[in-house]
């Protein structure tokens, strides 16, 4: 079956160059990097190279890179690491649109005796910076705010946020899982203290991630064990995947221009033509402060899971923030935080591209998505008349 993969914010294809770089570390170079013998030592050297590659992509010093098992571990390590190192500070600040790795950790902390403040967003998904500033207190141990949103692609003004956090004397962590590899990041000139990145979002394999911890930040290890990663993360390193992550970061740096030009061009074409061909559709998220590869569209009066099922029949892989696909009965917390109207919140579709998508892929989706929406609208008991009525009653009620 033909597959058009447009779900790259969920995961990406592992680059063939990455696979090639990894294979010898399963077969030939299987030593433990902590061993004293040369056989293990050569593996440690290769890990240093990978660390250098990761550091270069984000403008960090290699010593500031800690390898982890995934983005979620990095997020947990960052927040717990700061909380444990500052036991007297019991307050954290996050946003209402964080990825579950941070959002649900926030809920857990709130139930465990910590104080958690969630900062809201406007209808474009942009953060309210005054609200953020007011939220930071003297006992705020850490502020954790994502770099770019996984559902909408909206990019937060992280440096501006960093200045606010610094002026209030707190620490800034950012979940940059969706941003790293898609947009340029330079941590050498940045207010960010900790940054999370994940391998499988940038064409490295699943099961590997990294946490940037700025020199001078007091940080307690999340996984306590051996002396690996300079005592910042216990456990024998996942060497092949770390080598793969290094290679993927090197490739990402080389392909950055392509992300910002070709991928963005494809995304804009896809988004523009679908919005033109499908009536009663809207873009969720800020139009310009956005990742180059992501578009999140809502189709009113139809439901997202049904759209995905029909797209799936055509071999198109996408995501939705609808209740039926979120695993709960409520639609995406991100779209709800943005106040997406109830006529549209259940009918969202996220399309996320990568450098492996072709113009044929874009045409294929443009050809098949609008008829699917039409087909479902024919089944739906709701339509534009209902919206008109709703608006009329709101006007007459003076709302």
């Amino acid at each position: 079956m033909k597959v058009v993969y447009a779900d790259n914010n969920a995961t990406t294809r592992v680059a063939p160059e990455v696979v090639d770089a990894m294979l010898p570390y399963f077969t030939e170079y299987y030593g433990n990097p902590s061993s004293m013998h040369t056989f293990g030592g050569q593996v440690a050297k290769k890990m240093d190279v990978a660390r250098q590659q990761v550091a270069e992509l984000v403008g960090a010093d290699p010593v500031e890179i800690v390898f982890t098992s995934c983005g979620t571990e990095s997020d947990n390590a960052a927040i717990w690491g700061i909380l444990r190192a500052n036991p007297r500070k019991r307050h954290i600040v996050i946003t209402r649109v964080e990825h579950p790795a941070v959002y649900n950790l926030g809920k857990y902390l709130a139930q465990s005796g910590y104080h958690v403040t969630e900062v809201g967003v406007d209808s474009n998904g942009m953060l309210n910076l005054d609200e953020l500033s007011d939220a930071i207190r003297e006992d705020t141990a850490i502020v954790s705010i994502m770099y770019a949103n996984n559902e909408t692609g909206v990019i937060f003004p992280i440096e501006e946020i960093g200045h606010i956090v610094k002026s209030k004397g707190s620490v800034l962590h950012t979940d940059a899982v969706q941003a790293v590899g898609k947009i340029p990041i330079n941590l050498s000139k940045s207010t960010i203290d900790l940054l999370t990145l994940s391998g499988h979002k940038l064409h490295a394999p699943k099961g590997v991630g990294a946490l940037f911890v700025r020199k001078g930040i007091t940080f307690a290890p999340f996984i306590v064990g051996g002396h690996q990663e300079k005592n910042r993360r216990g456990g024998t390193e996942n060497v092949p995947s770390i080598v793969g992550l290094g290679k993927a970061c090197e490739l990402a740096k080389n392909y950055m221009d392509k992300e910002l030009t070709q991928v963005k061009h494809f995304r804009d074409k896809l988004e523009g033509e679908i919005l033109e061909k499908a009536p009663d559709a809207r873009l969720n998220g800020h139009k310009t402060h956005r990742l180059p590869n992501t578009t999140n569209l809502s189709f009113e009066f139809v439901e997202g899971e049904a759209i995905l099922l029909l797209l799936n029949e055509k071999g198109i892989c996408a995501s939705s923030g609808s209740a039926c696909t979120s695993g709960s009965l409520e639609p995406s917390h991100v779209l709800r935080a943005m106040g997406v109207p109830f006529t549209a919140v259940h009918g969202s579709v996220r399309l996320s591209l990568s450098r492996y998508n072709t113009i044929e892929d874009v045409h294929y989706i443009i050809e098949h998505l609008p008829p699917i929406i039409r087909r479902l609208r024919e089944i739906s008991p709701y339509g534009r008349e209902m919206k008109m009525k709703e608006q009329a009653s709101r006007v007459s009620a003076g709302i």
């Binding site: 139809v302 899971e305 049904a306 009965l329």
Partner: protein
Amino acid sequence: MWDYSEKVKEHFFHPRNVGEIENPDAVGEVGSLACGDALKLMLKLDRSGRIADVKFKTFGCGSAIASASALTEMVKGKTLDEAGKITDNDIAEYLDGLPEQKMHCSVMGREALEAAIANYQGVKIEKPVDEGTIVCKCFGVTDNKIAHEVREHKLTTIEQVTNFCKAGGGCGSCHPQIQAIIDEVWQKEKEKTIFEMARKPVKKLTNIQKVKLIQETIERDIRPTLQSDGGDIELIDIDGDRVMVSFRGSCVECPSSKVTLKSTVEAKLREFVTDTLIVEEVAS
């Protein structure tokens, strides 16, 4: 990944009876855009009272569309009484099963059908005041509805309740209340069983005793209620457990007399005589 049966997929990709009927005899609407799923069901009856045509429109996920499509196939050719006996489990079975988390889709089908039948019989679709109090604010589910689902499907956990009627699937703040309802239902059921066991063996009524008791109950508990609305009832015959009655006065024209037959006459007779009685309306 979707764990749908082939039959669900078949009905989703090729839904039967989509559309609307002009001048329908009955319309049932449940759900809303805000809830994430909704179903509008329209029925047309033939002269003998059987469902001659049925159409639906659904806003919802794959299994919601498939459940509605299946329901329309199931009710075709049935009388409203026969159709009214279809349960959500029947709909799920017809589709070779639904994933646990999707059972509320079949519940929506049954509710739309109930609404349509009530609509035909002239009963207001607006729920009566004693419908209960809202427990789940996110999805507007009442305590009575939750208790009904718990009894009907023998549910024992909050998660199961959420699967069947969505209650508790939002913010989660009502979970303690849902648990309390589950506990209360099963506590009551337990007491009921103990009570019934204690009551047995029931002395079997002789035919003479049964006829007398039925007559007394009609005189004492049924006729006064009907007469207060300008109607009346006459006992025509009794054959085993079948009780044949005929309405008089304003009851003859009353569109809700069918409901009265079951909800008042039959219920009272079952309560005071024996719970196996079946009341039927016959021409006199």
